[in-house]
Symmetry: C2
Subunit: 347 residues, 2 copies
């Protein structure tokens, strides 16, 4: 089965192959009759354009690259991949996936220079990528960075993120409005923005509600998400009997929190309320469904892809620096505490 090319179609349709090219690319200047003839030939021959050839002559790969966080199979990363993939295909672009590894900066830049991808989406969540971002910028690679852990004020790079302080406050405020005053907080210990900001949000919410912040209410651990959540919650609830609610800095942590509460023989939400962050798909799939703060991964992904393509189409497109809103999703893990203090809710 020899490859069918433009010329074969042209011959069959009785036109020049340039005209066929015009039809394929939907250029306006083709008479309906001709275009119909050509389309018929294309269908009969089952012709498919060779993208490599187009890529070469057009200087476009029609593919974008995604550098995702590790592990790829974490709920956050895999969802980001899923949504980025969907949006790319919707826009006629292929998605090439790259893993974060030794020498990735060079690999990415080469993929761009070698025209395998037209631009890069980089998820910096929980990663330190200054070097990589700088490289992309130096080589003028159209790129958008998701959840930047730092911004270098670069001219060619766009940023998309959420406000973790506000996000956390949405959850803690909700708990406070329900009447909780003794609220534990479980998070990772790390120097990463996300963790620091979420902890700051927790503290701020408490303080502004007139509840003094206490170090004993906060557990910061290192290790695997579920285990940090499980161990942290067990410790918090065993030592601080006054706690009526636990907020976990991520839903993955919250999974451990739920397990720990049950293990302690307590009920959710009757005895202890729980709130998470991120709204990973598990949040709504477990029992009881987890109340959490929704991080709009789908919007992030779709905005990232669209803006990247805009930048590819027109290199003069101004970079964006956008903060997307988060929102509280009330499900079944929160309830007023058994002995609610007389009207505490402020705003």
């Amino acid at each position: 089965m020899a490859r069918i090319t433009l010329k074969d179609v042209a011959k069959r349709a009785g036109v020049s192959f340039k005209t066929v090219s015009r039809v394929i690319n939907h250029e306006p200047s083709v008479s309906p009759t001709t275009s119909e003839k050509v389309n018929k030939a294309i269908a009969e021959l089952n012709y498919v354009p060779n993208l490599a050839a187009r890529s070469l002559s057009r200087g476009r790969a029609m593919a974008i690259g995604l550098v995702a966080g590790w592990p790829v199979n974490s709920p956050y990363t895999s969802t980001l991949i899923e949504q980025t993939l969907a949006e790319s295909m919707r826009n006629g672009y292929n998605l090439a996936l790259f893993s974060r590894e030794e020498g990735i900066a060079k690999k990415i830049v080469n993929a761009y220079l070698g025209k395998q991808v037209d631009g890069i989406i980089l998820d910096t969540n929980a990663a330190d990528d200054i070097e990589l971002v700088n490289q992309l910028n130096t080589h003028n690679v159209p790129s958008v960075v998701i959840h930047p852990n730092c911004k270098n004020g670069l001219k060619h790079t766009s940023y998309i993120q959420i406000n973790n302080v506000i996000a956390t406050r949405q959850a803690i405020d909700y708990l406070i409005e329900l009447g909780h005053r003794a609220i534990g907080f479980v998070c990772y210990k790390s120097g990463l923005n996300q963790e620091d900001e979420r902890k700051r949000g927790y503290r701020l919410a408490l303080t502004e509600a007139g509840i003094p912040y206490r170090d004993e209410w906060v557990y910061q651990g290192g290790g695997l998400p579920y285990q940090v959540g499980f161990i942290g919650t067990t410790q918090l609830l065993s030592n601080q009997k006054e706690l009526t609610a636990v907020a976990a800095a991520t839903d993955e942590l919250a999974m451990g929190t739920l397990g720990a509460i049950r293990q302690l023989g307590l009920r959710i939400p009757e005895d202890i309320s729980v709130v998470g962050f991120d709204d990973i798909s598990y949040a709504s799939m477990i029992l009881p469904p987890l109340s959490t703060v929704h991080q709009p991964i789908d919007e992030i992904a779709s905005l990232a892809v669209k803006h990247l393509i805009d930048t590819i189409d027109n290199p003069n497109t101004a970079p964006i620096d956008i903060v997307l809103p988060t929102r509280l999703v009330v499900r079944d893990t929160c309830k007023p505490p058994r002995h609610a203090p007389a009207s505490l809710s402020a705003s």
Copy 2:
């Protein structure tokens, strides 16, 4: 910054551009002196070959496509993607991801004919893809199918899978050896091979140990994994007080099983033993770590990629049809039942 090409390098190194091409492709017939000169020029100019051009002249995309299951962010699918990605990059191939959607068959075939990918890995787990597999085969697309739900005896298609009956028996046999006789089984209701085979494995293990199979010990539900596991286990344990262990047909189901057991005020593994299947990464990350049957996704992925590349390199490569072994992973969710019957273990 104009693109740097073979010719620029050739000029700088003072050789013909053909020689540069030889050096890049590590062809043996180049004198060390020349090759050194060329490499120097490449480094100085920061030259990167244009893959689109190479693709065009070589007829190779240096990329393989993966059609993964939906949702992409399930533990199984995302891990498969992760491992396929790693192995592809290790072999110098890019990975293009495709989502299962309307018209995917045509899209995939076109990606191949249009030389965006050199071959396809198709994960059929929990999907009915006869049409797609047939299409790939008809168009001679090098392809390997993972977990085929059916095999058409096609000449150009390879298969990689596990034996779900044996896998399940490994788990149930283990429980039986520990002394359990009343073992519940939670699974999805569906006509998919995987479910049917796992249920058959459960039944077989029981029967061969001289334990009569009982329908009341099996829960088959539809819906979200965690919820099926949770509801099924709650129901099983509430109605069949004799049960001392629960086997879940997948680890995702098992997550729900664990939640349900705790909710009932029972302990794992003191009161109830639990075993899962698949060994998703969560299995070892939760508390208590889940005993389960390991499905070698990494081996599956790496074998799939390697065989696919072999087939791409040499179209006469004979298709493979391989069943990879699974193995029991003992962690902390199983224990002999409280009142173990006097020596039951057979083999």
